[in-house]
């Protein structure tokens, strides 16, 4: 694992997120559940908590867009770049953008939203790409079964190096 930069982490463990818009590829309920599940892989192994808000500015703003979509990093159509996210910080910091030109699924067909979202949220929390091919934070997409998904050890070590372990009361 590696970090985006030495000081790139949230100063609080209570992080908010907002889904700004939805992909038409999935139902709203599917997207809500998938995004919540993607955050849970990180909160299960760290002290972080993630709370969904439905208006205003959240720490992590989540959106779907195509080509030029309001930042300096346009998407490239189907395949290629699937999504990107910004490290912890104000304004665009922490935000996660998904390429609407992909076909998003909750299955193994095409691109699995859960796997991509969990990866992008790693960036939003301060993790950089890992050179470990089995890590979630490896830069290229590969499908693994998502039922009872367990965060790979490399990623667990990375997030715990940033935020510590989850305290069991």
């Amino acid at each position: 694992y590696s970090f985006l930069s030495s000081n790139s982490k949230w100063s609080t463990n209570k992080i908010t997120y907002r889904i700004v818009n939805y992909t038409p590829d999935l139902t709203v309920a599917d997207v809500d559940q998938t995004i919540a599940k993607a955050f849970k892989v990180w909160s299960d192994v760290s002290p972080l908590t993630f709370t969904k808000i439905n208006s205003g500015t959240a720490d992590i703003m989540i959106s779907f867009g195509t080509k030029s979509h309001g930042d300096l990093f346009p998407f490239d159509g189907p395949s290629g770049t699937l999504a990107h996210a910004f490290g912890p910080g104000s304004d665009i910091g922490g935000d996660a953008h998904f390429d609407e030109d992909e076909t998003w699924t909750t299955t193994s067909r095409s691109i699995n939203l859960f796997l991509v979202a969990a990866h992008e949220f790693g960036h939003a929390l301060g993790l950089d790409h890992s050179t470990n091919p089995s890590a979630l934070m490896f830069p290229t997409y590969s499908y693994v079964p998502t039922e009872r998904y367990k965060l790979p050890t490399d990623d667990v070590n990375g997030i715990q190096a940033l935020y510590g372990k989850r305290t069991v009361i």
Binding site: L4, F73, F75, S79, G80, T81, L82, A83, H84, A85, E102, I111, V116, H119, E120, H123, D128, H129, T131, P133, P139, T140, Y141, S142
Partner: protein, 81 residues
């Protein structure tokens, strides 16, 4: 940008592959547009990419490297700008 990523002249890559690879390296490994006017630094960038993905570090655009470059991936650079 330079016309092509340096490759083994005996390779079977076509110009489209070169341009694709150059765009990939520029986006995810930050080729300096000034330095890359000579081919050496671009080769070094290609080697960094091959090293990151644990490929054979040859500095040449072989088939295995192209296959990795064409995989769907995250848009965050592997070497930050």
């Amino acid at each position: 940008l330079p016309a092509a990523v340096p490759v083994n002249p005996k390779s079977e890559n076509n110009e489209g592959d070169f341009q694709f690879a150059e765009g990939y390296l520029n986006r995810f490994y930050t080729i300096s547009t000034v330095k890359s006017r000579s081919r050496g630094p671009v080769t070094e960038t290609l080697k960094r990419m091959q090293s990151f993905f644990k490929l054979n570090v040859t500095g040449t655009l072989d088939r295995e490297t192209m296959e990795v470059m064409k995989r769907p991936r995250c848009g965050v650079p592997d070497v930050a700008k």
